[in-house]
Each structure stands twice: as C-alpha cells, then as structure tokens.
C-alpha cells in the first residue's frame, strides 16, 4: 500500500526531477527495498547507459595510527604512547608504493591518524619524495588532516592546500565526512572538525582544480532525516563546484570501538545506497563498498545504484581494526562484475577508463 505522496515522488524520480529533503525522507521511510532499487537503477542507467562498472587499482597507506581526534566509532587509532602506535618511515611507504605499481596500481591513498607532530613540512617533503620517484596519483589526506595541518602551521586552508598541491598532492579523498550534521558529530567524533569545516576544505580544494570524493558513514547515531541532510549538503556543494567525482556511503563497524552497538544490516545499506543514487542527481558516480559489505552485497549493490566497485585496496587497516576483513583481488573484482552482466573497466582517479576487461 503506497500513500499518494509516494507515487508522486516516484513519478518525479522517473521523470528525472530532483527530490527535496522532505520528498527524500518520505521515500526513504516508506518505499520498500525493491522500489528504491528500481528507482536507483533507473537513475544509474540514465547516467551510465553503457553497462560498465569501473574500479581502480590503488593502495591504502595508513602512514600513522596516532590520532588526536579519537573518534568514538573508530577502532584504528592509538594514543602516541600505546605500544601499538606507529608511524611509517619513508622507506616503508616506498616499499608499499613499489608493490602497488607492480600490481598495476595508479593511485595511493595515504591517510592517518591526525598525528599531533606532523605539520606541513612533513607532508611537503613526503609528497615531493614520492613524486620524484614514482609516476602515481597522490589521492591523500582527508579534510580533517588538512584542517589540522593548516591550523598547526597557522595557514589558511587555501594556502595549506596550495602548498600541498605544489608538493604533489593531486586529489583528496572524502573520508571523515561521517554524518555532516553537527549534532551527530558532537556525539561520535567530538574532536573532529565540524561539517562546515569539512565543506570548506572540499570547496577550497575543488576551486584549486583538485578532484575530491565524498563519503558518508551511517548506522551509528544518526536519524533518517540526518542522512538526508548529509546528502543534500553535499549535493549543494556539488551544485556550486562540480568538484566531487563520486559518493561512497559505508556502514559504521562497531567492533572494538568505544561507541559499540550494532552494524547497519545489508538491507539498510542497500536502501541508503539507492537513496544516495536517487538524491545525488549531480554526482556522476556512486561506489559500492565491498570493504564493509563483502563481495556478495557489493555485487548486488550494482542493481541498487552503484556503478563503481571502488578500489582493490591491497591493504586495508581501518575497517579491519573493527574486526571486518573482507579481501578482494583484481581478478575477483573483474569476475564478479562480469557475473552480474556488466563490463569491468579499470579507471583512474578522475574516472577516465584505462582498460576494459571484456
């Protein structure tokens, strides 16, 4: 039984018109899983008629796990004096990049820890060293890290970004967005930047021509309305800058965290993914998260709005710290995309197709 309002909203999506917050919320609350999937799939087909599913070969390099933020949902960070605290040496980082390139990788995603002692000199030096040795995309430092670096060295966000970019930083991952509503952030990540600062870093980077992504971690303390608010906020930024290449929702993983509780279920994940595809009509790409959902649900996600399979990762430490360790090789990613009836294609950071795997 669908209320009349739902049918009007469904018509709106089907005719390619944008939903406002209220409409998004009604749809999210009242539409069943298959309805959301069908709508998301329509939007996806409109944007990607070619039945292609992309992926990137890259590596996550977590240069440190020492972090001043100490978010309650995080199982990865350590205090500076913890026996498990680490910071990778340049040689260790180079070794990881060598392995990445050997596997056909085109990008590295370096993220911490917001380490209290690492200022802009450290990153400029590191990025220059990487760029002098390798031809590889440096897709690194989330807004939280950039914001900290700027503050530590008394720079504006813009100036910090200009210097980082000059030293080799190419693009910025959308991590640390969590839920872009301060009520939630104050509870789950009280020490982390608020939503406006996250948005400011992204906008400044985008103005400098650096591509960025946007993420959302849901399933902690947020309400349905706050999920919609998050989506509308990034949609508004995108309207202004056109600088987001993709949106990546994933689920909070409660294992080994202060916040605890339970994880969002697979049905909730697919619903949020589909809702994202429906709401974010100005985002070209939506990524499935096999890291949090596993290969089976990530594959099914291709019918719920996702057109990108994310990255091969090579290593992943943050979700793994919460006890979830899915692994996928490039071959597995390719075969699972084909099994769903799509053509897999390796892409670069800007979603240029490098190689189709027919």
């Amino acid at each position: 039984m669908k209320p009349k309002a739902i049918n009007l909203i469904i018509n709106k999506v089907e005719s390619g018109r944008r939903l406002d917050s209220d409409e998004g919320l009604i749809l999210f609350k009242h539409a069943d899983l298959l309805t959301l999937g069908e709508l998301a799939n329509q939007v996806r087909k409109r944007l990607h008629p070619e039945r292609l599913v992309t992926f990137i070969i890259d590596r996550n390099i977590n240069y440190t796990n020492i972090c001043v933020n100490k978010c309650k949902f995080c199982a990865f960070y350590r205090e500076a004096d913890s026996p498990e605290a680490y910071i990778l040496s340049k040689d260790e980082i180079f070794k990881k990049i060598d392995e990445t390139i050997a596997q056909g990788g085109t990008q590295i995603l370096m993220q911490g820890g917001v380490h209290p002692d690492l200022g802009i000199d450290y990153f400029e030096d590191l990025f220059r060293a990487v760029k002098s040795r390798y031809t590889i995309q440096i897709h690194s430092l989330s807004p939280s890290e950039i914001s900290f670096i700027a503050k530590k060295d008394a720079l504006s966000i813009k100036d910090a970004l200009i210097r980082l970019k000059a030293s080799g930083l190419d693009s910025i991952p959308g991590g640390g967005a969590e839920i872009l509503v301060d009520r939630v952030r104050k509870k789950v990540s009280p020490n982390k930047i608020r939503w406006r600062q996250w948005a400011e870093v992204m906008k400044e980077a985008q103005k400098l021509g650096m591509p960025t992504t946007a993420t959302m971690m849901f399933g902690s303390l947020e309400t349905d309305k706050e999920i919609i608010e998050h989506l509308v906020r990034i949609r508004d930024i995108q309207e202004e800058t056109k600088g987001f290449t993709a949106f990546i929702p994933w689920t909070y993983q409660p294992g080994n965290t202060e916040l605890g509780g339970r994880s969002a279920t697979a049905v909730e994940y697919l619903k949020v993914l589909a809702l994202s595809r429906i709401m974010l009509d100005n985002f070209q790409n939506i990524q499935a998260s096999w890291v949090t959902q596993g290969a089976k649900i990530a594959q099914v996600a291709l019918e719920f709005g996702a057109n990108d399979f994310g990255s091969t990762m090579i290593e992943e430490n943050v979700v793994a710290a919460a006890g979830i360790t899915f692994r996928m090789t490039k071959q597995e990613i390719i075969s699972i995309i084909k099994d769903a009836g799509y053509t897999p294609a390796q892409r670069d950071t800007r979603y240029n197709i490098l190689k189709k795997e027919d």
């Binding site: 697979a266 089976k296 769903a340």
Partner: protein
Amino acid sequence: MNIDTIKEKVLSNQRLTREDGIALFKSNDLLALGRMADHVAQHKNGNQVFFVQNMHINPTNICVNRCKFCAFSRSKGEPGAYEMSIDDILDKARKAGKGVREFHIVSGLHPDLPFAWYLDMLGALKKEFPKIHLKAFTAVEIDYLAKLSGLSVTDTLKQLRDAGLGSLPGGGAEIFNTTVRNTLCAEKISGDRWLEVIEAAHNIALKSNATMLYGHIETYEHRIDHLLRLRGLQDRTGGFQAFIPLSFHSQNTEIKKSAYTTGFDDLKTLAISRLVLDNFDHIKAYWVMLGEKIAQVSLNFGVDDLDGTVVEERITKAAGGTTDGSMTRDEIVHLIKQAGRIPVERDTVYNVVKVWK
C-alpha cells in the same frame, strides 16, 4: 522467452515451464526477478518471515560415501574423524537453550553402527526431551539405515517414527542429474532413489524439506530439472514443507571452483525457486551458507524462512563457511524487522509460536 511474458504468467498464477525457468536464470535483471518472486511470496505468506530456534547435532563425520564436494566427511581412523556416543549426544542436547524446539540431526554414513543404535538415539532424546521435535536423517541416511535394518524403506521409516522421528530434513538431494551426480558423489544414492525415499516418507505422513546444492559443476538446465522433479513429487504427495537451495562452498573439497557463489547467483536461485516451485509453501534462506547479509536481502526476493538459530553447525564450517554458525533469536528478529518483514517464530511443522508485531 522474455521476462515480460514470464511476468504475465506469474501475475496470473500460471505454472512456469522448463524454458521459462532457464530464461530466468539467463537473465541478469535481478530486480525484476525479485519483484516477481516477492509477489508470489507475499501471496503465500504475506509479510511474514519464519524462523525456528533449533540446534544442529552432527553425531559423526565418518562416512562411507566420501563425496567430492564435502569437506566434512572423514574415513574411519583418519585424523579429524569423530563419533559421538548416545551419551555425548545427550550432553550436547542438554546445552540447548530454553526456547529450542527442534534438533536437526544429520551425519555421515557410519560403517559399523547397527540400526538399533539409531532407534536408541532417537528414543533417548525423546525420553529426555519429549517436547523437542526430532528432524533427522536425510534420504541418503534413510536408504543406508534400510540396508542396515534389512527392512523396506517404509518399514524402516515406521520404526524410526515410532522411536521418535518427527520429520526429515532435505539434505542429500544435491543435483539429481546423473552425470553431475556421478562426478560429485558417485557413491551416493541416485536422484531417483532420493525421490523414492522421500515419497515413502511422505506416504506415511512424515513431512520433509528439499534442498539443491548449486554453484559447482552443474548448468542452469540441471538446476531447473532438479526443481521440476521436486515440483512433480510435491504434486503427488504435498509432503514438502520448505525448499532450501544450498550454495556450494569449495574450500577443502575436491571440486576446483571459486570459493563462494556470487550474491547475484544466490538471489537469482532463491527467487527462481520461489517462482518455479509454485506448490511449495516455503522457500528458506540457509544463512549459515549464504551469509546473513544475502539471507536478509533475500527476504525481498521470494524467501519467507530464515531457518533457525542453528547452534553449532559443523558441515559448512569445514568448507570455509564464514558465519559464526549461530545467531541469537534477537539477531534473527532484528534482521527480519530491518528487512521490513514480520518475524514469526515457528516450530518444525510451521505452527506459530510467536509473532513480533
């Protein structure tokens, strides 16, 4: 055959043909399959999703068959072989939580135990747990026990029933096709024999389930033929309760295949089972094999049963199963609710125990 034609048949309650079934398997339109299967499931069971609080007991892994797809079985004397005495089985059964209503008991085909041992085991369990339903012995085991007893299948089943057997699980069906079966499990009874044994059980009012092992070397045609034979038997007896497709796990088996089936294949197989088996009341997602995520999503793809709490299952685990092998009642109820369905706790024969409104 296109999907729209099949959809019209589904919506007008017409039985699907072999060709329809094959066309559905060849389609990648997952959401359309889900929509059709969901339509049928809603028609049969409304918004309800059933589960049972049960405990699995696998008395021995020693088996004379040694099927190639099985990572659980051992030969007698081989490292890792185990067998439980009746006292061991009772000890394990005593660990069952308060709400447990079913013991699911399946084993290897043990070379030495006499028929009387099985009657004694059922009798001992029934004596100590008179209210718990004993769902035990696949058709393969029943055939084996008939050889041990020297009786007909029907008389063997009657003796077991008199000792406490309540119903039969659906295992050992694998894939009925002879060629596939000879490759996978040459020593195991034939598909014809499996159906014969189950028919004999249904004829003396013992209910059973039915299964299909998919994702190994079989084709879509083999799957559909398997479903059609089950549908034919069900037309005659009405004795099947639920159909349970079992996704193949290749780790530690002799079949070289990717470790797990895909999410697409799992959901397609469940949905198509719902569509083809129009005379089965229930389609069950066995979450131990599928993983709880796909099992939950399948509740929108034609599935109306999530099996049970399954305390300590050992067979899937041996082949690289990744679930814990048990879920609490609260966890199952949560999964069902989050899928937008009404959780209904049942007993083995689908009497309602509790509804979560």
